[in-house]
């Protein structure tokens, strides 16, 4: 990637003050997992260039519901994370919320790190 073009996504750890650029939304989630494994730190979405409007809510089920139709095989978790971050929610918090809802059966994962509403 040349320095002129910015990656569409980025995540930051406020404790370490390090930022990781990402081409795909789900790479934010991977970054969070690797970073969390070493530090226990939560990270926040620093940039998310999404080509469409995301619903103004941090309710993960509502986000997946609203975006489901756009994706054939599930909404990338990273997109949900990015949408919720607009409401000030961290990556770790969103992933926890997703897990909670999945355990109720209202969300399913048709393929790794992609979600559909059931």
């Amino acid at each position: 990637m040349s320095p002129q073009q910015q990656a569409p996504f980025a995540a930051t750890c406020p404790d370490c003050e390090v930022t990781s650029d990402a081409t795909e939304a789900n790479e934010i989630v991977d970054f969070y997992r690797r970073h969390h494994r070493h530090t226990g730190h939560d990270v926040v979405v620093a940039r998310a260039d999404i080509a469409f409007d995301v619903p103004a809510t941090d309710d993960v089920l509502a986000i997946v519901d609203a975006l489901d139709a756009r994706y054939e095989d599930g909404v990338p978790v990273g997109i949900v994370v990015a949408a919720a971050s607009e409401q000030g929610v961290t990556v770790g918090e969103t992933l926890d919320a997703i897990r909670e809802v999945r355990l109720t059966g209202a969300l399913a994962e048709p393929r790794d790190d992609h979600l559909t509403a059931v």
Binding site: C16, V18, R34, R37, H38
Partner: protein
């Protein structure tokens, strides 16, 4: 010599002696996903690898987890106060047992319990207890309760991983019959053990992701030919030409002389210099000479083109002073400068233009790194 990739891809081995010949490790070893997979066994499955710092788990039952390649381990302090390492894998049906627990935020347990069917292990890894359903067989018509065999505590223990220490640094080795840590460490062990490393506390961890192969960063760390041009703030106070590079079998040390004597209070070792120790494959210990403390680096591969730099800073107290904060910031700036260099080098290597680079006459430390990598691959292939 440099071998450009004219479609022939012809490369030579890393030169056995860098003073005669200058062959670097061929470029594909920095860019090929298969090499990354192979290294999980050939390198990280064979040599002693840093697991963490014993000071972070002072009390019995304290533990943290660490993932090396695909292997997840629990490092814990047992009832006798010894540090031991186990695979984070249950002896019953192979479930991972504890959640990821970083060294910066360790857990404590009186026993290790698998959440799946509640098999419970002592801190020395032995099976301590199982639920009734593993002692009786009411649901199995073919088996009488009294015929259910008793589970032997040792035979059903967690799988231990070889571990050993240099001072407070805990290392693990996944090989069946590894060479002793003392042999891999050589003089490094004596040098590090002469310092009061255990008197210092982990005060800060900064983890960065960098877009280059871990060996590219390792190589950059190991030489200072790039410093004059790229770390101008830092070299201002150094006599670069008076630095010394000391190379042993599996480690090398860069000694940097300070132009002026720094305050004696400001370092844990007594030379008037900074010392940077690189320990194959991916660990480094930094004695800055300008701070009463030290740092460690773990150069942790993510894939063939990315790694995580785990930078830990140890000071007298785990609470940072104003000066120490500033010191960490300066160190971090140095890292950022290096990240730019190594990411640029990785881009060049990935372009496919170069099949094999060459090393300079003062890059005998980098040569050592490349040679060790090649030897590891060859031993693994054999």
């Amino acid at each position: 010599m440099t071998r450009w990739n004219n479609g022939l891809d012809e490369v030579e081995r890393v030169s056995p002696d860098i003073t005669d010949e200058t062959n670097a490790l061929p470029a594909r070893y920095f860019t090929d996903p298969d090499v990354h997979e192979m290294e999980k066994d050939a390198v990280f499955g064979q040599y002693w690898v840093y697991a963490g710092h014993a000071n972070c788990i002072p009390d019995s039952g304290d533990y943290f987890t660490r993932t090396i390649g695909d292997r997840e381990i629990i490092v814990l302090r047992n009832h006798d106060g010894e540090v031991q390492a186990f695979y984070n894998v249950c002896a019953h049906r192979g479930s991972a047992i504890v959640e990821e627990t970083p060294m910066t935020d360790p857990g404590n347990a009186r026993r290790i319990q698998c959440p799946y069917h509640l098999w419970t292990y002592d801190l020395d890894g032995d099976l301590a207890s199982t639920p009734r359903s593993f002692e009786e067989a009411p649901l199995n018509p073919d088996l009488e309760d009294e015929d259910v065999p008793e589970l032997d505590a040792e035979e059903n223990s967690l799988m231990e991983v070889h571990s050993d220490r240099i001072g407070p640094f805990v290392f693990v080795n996944f090989a069946d019959d590894p060479m002793p840590l003392a042999e891999q460490a050589g003089r490094l062990e004596t040098e590090l053990e002469s310092l009061p490393l255990e008197e210092y506390q982990l005060a800060r961890r900064i983890v960065s992701e960098v877009e280059c192969n871990w060996k590219v960063f390792g190589g950059n760390y190991s030489e200072c030919d790039h410093c004059q041009a790229n770390h101008q703030d830092w070299v201002e106070n150094l006599e670069l030409l008076e630095s010394e590079l000391e190379v042993d079998d599996y480690h090398w040390v860069l000694h940097y002389k300070h132009k002026e004597d720094v305050d004696d209070e400001m370092r844990i070792h007594d030379e008037h210099e900074a010392q940077f120790h690189y320990f194959w494959p991916n660990f480094a210990v930094n004695m800055y000479g300008t701070a009463d403390g030290y740092g460690t680096y773990i150069i942790d591969p993510i894939d063939e083109g990315r790694f995580q730099l785990v930078a830990d800073y140890y000071f007298r107290e785990s609470e940072l002073t104003e000066e120490e904060e500033q010191f960490v910031r300066t160190s971090r700036q140095l890292q950022e400068e290096d990240f730019e260099l190594v990411e640029r080098q990785q881009r060049g290597l990935q372009s496919g233009a170069i099949a094999q680079a060459q090393l300079g006459p003062n890059e005998h430390t980098v040569h050592r790194l490349h040679l060790l990598a090649q030897e590891a691959y060859e031993t693994y292939d054999a």
